[in-house]
């Protein structure tokens, strides 16, 4: 029933004949060996614990690799609101390829920027987990998360993560990816120390300036007094 015109243009290369070792090739031996392997698998699965490699998921969980990257989260130090590292600079919002980040800057009553986000939303139904936001953030604020149980029965608001669900502590980050987090912490600490040193230096300089000014003023006064006396 095969139509010769429909025959695929194939060339069949026969496999090279197996080496003749002088033994009788028993027909069906390979099939039998296969059956034995399957049978051993089956019986050993009942008493050899190391054979069973599957994990009973809701009860057991596989540890997450530090390289696992999922949707982004926002990092904060100590306090979830005051300690939020994000300054609402909108770099991530601009860089995001699918435009899934939405940021509103928080301002006080005079319209002055408070350098923190009022609204920070990520729509994870749009997010494509590229990690660009985490790379471009200059404030060490946004990182990729490891959480994967995000399924939801509300596909609009359930998948729109706000600040409350996005902000996670620095300790969480440390737990998730210790290497990256400790590096970041060390850098931030160094930065802070540098800043403190700079502050101290600035203060010292200011103090010195002040002292110098006071000194100059005193000298000037003394000079005027002397002038006045001489006059």
């Amino acid at each position: 029933m095969n139509d010769s015109s429909m025959e695929p243009t194939t060339s069949i290369n026969r496999l090279p004949a197996p080496p003749k070792s002088g033994r009788w090739i028993v027909p069906g031996l390979g099939l039998f060996q296969g059956l034995m392997v399957a049978g051993r698998n089956m019986f050993e699965s009942y008493y050899k614990k190391e054979r069973m490699t599957t994990i009973q998921y809701p009860e057991q969980r596989a540890p997450i690799s530090p390289n696992f990257r999922n949707f982004p989260f926002l990092c904060y130090d100590k306090d979830p609101v005051a300690g939020l590292r994000c300054t609402a600079c909108s770099i991530c919002e601009n860089e995001c390829p699918p435009k899934c980040i939405y940021i509103v800057l928080d301002r006080d009553e005079n319209g002055k920027s408070l350098k923190r986000p009022k609204v920070f939303d990520i729509d994870i139904s749009v997010c494509m987990n590229c990690g660009i936001c985490a790379e471009v953030c200059p404030f060490d604020s946004i990182y990729m998360d490891g959480e994967y149980e995000l399924s939801n029965d509300d596909r609009f608001s359930g998948l729109l993560l706000g600040l409350d669900r996005l902000s996670k502590s620095a300790e969480y980050h440390m737990q998730l990816r210790p290497e990256e987090a400790s590096e970041v912490m060390a850098r931030r600490k160094a930065d802070e120390e540098k800043k403190a040193a700079a502050q101290a230096a600035k203060e010292a300089k200011a103090k010195a300036d002040k002292e110098a000014k006071e000194k100059a003023a005193a000298e000037a006064q003394a000079a005027t007094e002397q002038k006045g006396e001489s006059a």
Binding site: M1, N2, S4, S5
Partner: protein
């Protein structure tokens, strides 16, 4: 008698469908139905062996073969078939009606005898076997040879004998695109 009166119209309806349906696959499936109903008819009037053989060979082999070749040949659109129907139907009826008339007239004139026995004549498997391999043994052997020849011949035909088969269609003014 009752099964006969129920089955006969059903057989005729199914056969009519097989003759009339424009879509070839429907016709072939209705043929399968007709053949299955005829097998049931045989079973109903007591020819069990023949009924089962009819079912096995006709429904299981012939109808499947026909359906399968319909699939392979991909028959054309039924619209063309319907458009040509009136003329071909006229020709067909001109030839068929006289045949039917002759059959009916001879049926009426023959005056078939009344049934002698209401019970089915006995036809056990043993009887079949004995008759098949004593009286009819030459026929069985002939049929066996014939079927072997058919098997080989059909296989060769369907594969395409070397040299005859080619994918190019005949040079014909009306050759269809493949």
């Amino acid at each position: 008698m009752l099964p006969l009166l129920i089955l006969s119209p059903l057989i005729l309806l199914a056969a009519l469908g097989a003759v009339w349906k424009a879509r070839p696959v429907h016709a072939a499936l209705l043929l399968a139905l007709t053949l299955a109903l005829i097998a049931l008819l045989y079973l109903a009037i007591g020819a069990y062996f023949i009924g089962l053989v009819q079912f096995m060979v006709y429904v299981g082999a012939v109808a499947i073969l026909i359906v399968f070749s319909l699939l392979i040949t991909r028959p054309g659109d039924e619209a063309e078939e319907i458009s040509r129907r009136p003329s071909s139907l006229l020709t067909g009826l001109i030839c068929t009606v006289p045949v039917l008339a002759v059959l009916f007239i001879s049926l009426i004139r023959a005056n078939p005898p009344e049934p002698a026995a209401s019970d089915a004549p006995s036809a056990t498997l043993q009887q079949f076997g004995e008759k098949l391999f004593t009286t009819h043994a030459p026929v069985v052997i002939t049929v066996g040879v014939l079927l072997t020849a058919v098997l080989i011949g059909a296989a060769l035909f369907a594969r395409g004998v070397q040299g005859i088969s080619s994918s190019e269609p005949f040079e014909s003014g009306k050759s269809l695109p493949p």
